[in-house]
Amino acid sequence: MTYLTKKYDEAFINKNSVRTNYKKLINWFKNQDNDELTKKNSDAMKFFQNTGVSFKVYSNDNKENLIPFDIIPRIINYKEWDKIVRGITQRVLAINFFLNDIYGQQEIIKHGVIPVDLIQNNPAFLKQMIGFIPPQKTYNHISGIDLIKTNSDNFYVLEDNVRVPSGASYMIENRDTMIKLFPELFSRYKVFENRNYAKNLSEILKKSSPKKTNRNPNIVLLTPGIYNAAFFEHAFLADKLGIELVEGKDLRVINKYLNMRTIEGWKRVDVIYRRIDDSFLDPLSFKEDSFLGVPGLMEVYRNKYVTIANAPGTGISDDKSIYSYIPDIIKFYLGQKPILKNVKTFKCRVKDELNYVLDNLNKLVVKEVHGSGGYGMLVGPLASKTEIAKFKNKIIKNPYNYIAQPTLSLSTCPIYTKKGLTSRHVDLRCFALLAKEKVSVTSGGLTRVALKKDSLVVNSSQGGGTKDTWILSS
């Protein structure tokens, strides 16, 4: 099968010529027996199935699905990676300053950098957090920054996920699988370790403990339960961190403190690594009918007897309408030029931009401001006329709810098929951890790949797969 490189391909310049990063890999690949590779490919899926690595996609049959895994790694060299690390570090710090400010003095609004209505009318802005300084002044302990590449020079930031970003467990499992399947590749390439993610996460959670608890902090991971799509990851991380995996029903506020129910009675909790959304955290403060959270949790939090990571209200900074202001936010708080570029974004709330969007829907990708997981979006060039017309009405009805971006030509990477390598679009989710104004970015990340030909949607909830991602150490 001939390898087609229509867009920017990270491995091949054209079908005969391989880029430096991939030369050793492609040579190795050419010498492999295809039947053997096919077998290893299915071994990989079996390995995931037996270990129970799954991602539940909400559907009628209620089945657990495996996220397809591709055995061809994605390779990024040190120079490219170094720029990414600097760019993400800058972004994560700026976002934390922004959050402290927006729930504090709101200097950024006073200086006219961000329009006030963007905050005021935003459901992700939690009034309960106004005037509150979280422990260690940290909001976004854990961030998942999505990057895309369009040509040889640039990675762009597509999204900053700072609510409850997931995917780190797949990053680690993918590496484990690759080492099991192809140990010989790791002697050919020097690849940075990514399994220190859990250790680093454990450290930042310990550091985030409120000052009032002067002891070895008791950290728990709060999950919505086994029916949640990302439950596998919750259990995986709790296991790696050596902490209890709890549900709301295991926790209770007693005498101003948060406690968990153990076989020997109640035990105090100091840090919650939460994997449930803000609105479910505390039925007394948010959604009254939430069974996932803990009544009275917010009061304990406001008294600084417990740390919640990420802090409630963090979502205001990864909202897709705030996204377009991130370069300004970096300039405002750090006085620096953004290292990583944003994707051009049209804000439908601004009249001129709305008109442009409505006139050019067939060329644009339109997203809901609070949407995620690839739901509720329109990919103009691939949509039918009726779909476009329908979406147009939705935008006109509520322009505040939408932003639009040009259809980017995402880079492609080779994936393995029985007939040989073929190119597919990819993005990259990077994981950054923040404690005491220090950011650590885990080397690698989760490459998500659109398995359908020409598709640009890489989300696992939409049939995307993943790849191991290698950062070369030299």
Partner: protein
């Protein structure tokens, strides 16, 4: 440890043990079916009663047809103790307590679940029944093997074993309860149609026929079978063995002050009762009271350790 984790561990192993016990019963019934035995219907009747599913089965079926019963026990949703549902619940609890068990134990449970789903979700072919039972029992043995070899010897393991032995006690007590009339003292009362064959079937339904014969010089007698199932401390399915293991694990999990806990006191009283009855078992109410005491013991454990 979280109370809810103890809950999940306890129930995970109750369900796994229940799968194993149910498989043994299906196997003993299926053997009779293959031999076209005259006792086939009595045997199925007893098996359905033991599992408290006779009523549910007869709602759907007019007769005790072997393959229908086997299908019912394997996967009929009307049967809340069907194998497919039991393994589903076992795995669900394993998922809940994923952080507490080793990846070896988890993978053993997960592969057992994958296997049963694959085999039972299609039409169950008569020729495959024995293979399915054999393979599943092997997979369950793997779970217990990894439990023993890969887990720390701490309270996590105690709750796994508490679930196992409470459930096994329940199962043996149910079998005795359903068929107590076979175990009556022969001199006092002889049940019509009583013969050694039925005693043999009791032993087969807990797959302990060979070990009984080995211990008793190939001679089957009612009082010896009773002793074997109730009082023999060496027999891994006997009531005595189960209660001894339960006591051992309760001591270890309570550490200090175990003598003050209801669960411990209750377990000791069960042990005493069995010891006192060593020679004479001809009493339905005796068996029934043991069965009920074991249920109380289970709820004592759930209360004392803050299960949900």
């Amino acid at each position: 440890m979280l109370g809810s984790t103890a809950d999940s561990l306890f129930w995970m192993f109750r369900y796994i043990e229940r799968v194993e016990n149910t498989l043994c019963m299906i196997e003993s019934g299926f053997q009779l079916y293959l031999l076209s035995s005259n006792n086939l219907y009595n045997e199925w009747d007893a098996i359905l009663k033991t599992n408290s599913i006779r009523h549910h089965f007869l709602k759907k079926n007019n007769s005790l047809e072997s393959l229908n019963i086997i299908n019912f026990m394997f996967k009929d949703p009307k049967n809340l103790n069907n194998i497919l549902l039991l393994i589903e619940k076992a795995r669900e609890n394993a998922r809940r307590s994923r952080v507490s068990i080793t990846s070896e134990v988890w993978e053993a449970i997960n592969t057992c679940w994958l296997y049963l789903n694959e085999e039972l979700n299609k039409k169950i072919n008569e020729s495959k029944i024995q293979t399915i039972i054999k393979n599943t029992r092997e997979k369950i043995a793997l779970i217990f093997g990894f439990l023993e070899r890969s887990m720390l010897k701490n309270e996590i393991l105690n709750f796994c074993y508490l679930g196992t032995f409470i459930e096994r006690f329940d199962n043996t007590a149910r079998i005795l309860n359903t068929r107590y009339y076979l175990l009556l003292d022969e001199k006092k009362f002889r049940f019509e149609g009583y013969d050694n064959f039925q005693l043999e079937m009791i032993l087969r339904s807990i797959s302990s026929y060979r070990s009984f014969m080995w211990k008793n010089q190939n001679e089957i007698k009612a009082n010896k079978v009773s002793y074997f199932l109730i009082s023999d401390k060496d027999m891994p399915k006997s009531l005595m063995f189960c209660i001894n293991e339960t006591i051992k694990n309760l001591k270890s999990v309570h550490k200090k002050n175990f003598t003050k806990n209801n669960s411990f006191l209750n377990a000791i009283s069960i042990q005493k009762k069995i010891k006192q009855k060593n020679t004479n078992f001809n009493n339905y109410s005796f068996l029934n009271s043991l069965f009920k005491l074991n249920m109380t013991l289970a709820s004592n454990i759930e209360e004392e350790f803050n299960f949900q």
